[in-house]
Symmetry: C2
Subunit: 132 residues, 2 copies
Amino acid sequence: MRVHQQVTLSLEGAFKAADLPPLVWHDVLIELAHAPDHRLRPVELGSVLQMAQYNLSRLLDRMVDAGLVVRAPCQDKRGHWIVLTASGLKRQKEMYGVYVRVLMQDMGAHLGEDSARKLARQLGKVLSQPEA
Amino acid sequence: MRVHQQVTLSLEGAFKAADLPPLVWHDVLIELAHAPDHRLRPVELGSVLQMAQYNLSRLLDRMVDAGLVVRAPCQDKRGHWIVLTASGLKRQKEMYGVYVRVLMQDMGAHLGEDSARKLARQLGKVLSQPEA
DNA sequence: CACCTGTTGATGCACCCGCATCAACCTTGT
DNA sequence: ACAAGGTTGATGCGGGTGCATCAACAGGTG
């Protein structure tokens, strides 16, 4: 928990310093960037990110306002597609750069290549929903 | 991060189900329980818990309202002592029980004794502020 | 078709967090 | 003693989170 807090604070600080949105925005953006046609349903995002539905709904509102994603109609008329825009993809790459840099500094500097791999494997054993 | 979220959600859920306050309350309570005379200055709590000052201030307000701690005057008249009450200590023990039970279920079930120890050691290497 | 159930997503409300700021007090130097 | 600077803690305000609830739609059954 302490490690998580430390890394999280460092990441959020770096994003803020670079005038970028918070970490959750990156989680959403990267999922969309990896999705076919750069689009996903809110419910899919929610299940992947393990994120509360009402919370995601309002986060997407903000991201639409910021022009990073758009809502588009889809077959199931209850919902819609969340589609990554060009500036959304650009923002995702900016954030990913900061993300990698911070993790390298904060974790990579303290762990060797194989230590990191072992750590990831140990942590993976605890996940109820196996990693992608 | 996924492990942290999973465990955190599980813990908060267990606390809520047992009609207990959130996890941060336990962090404060256990620090007080281990402190000499069951009392600490807010600034000490803040530095141990790596918690923002304004945030801690209001958390303590709520804990005072709940009767788990009291504010008592101290030499340095800028601040005061935060003193654990009897019902605060009782609550801490209740929360600790749930805490241990959940961690055993969520992590202990997936890791052997030595795996857990290795994991803790690897994680410890990343901490900028070495553990107590 | 009409109906019932389950799913998807949005929203009002209360609460919590982050930021900036302030008041009160300690400490140090002169 | 006094002024200047640092430390400790509280608070107004905007924004984010959790809970409960609701509207809209899908899918299956009589």
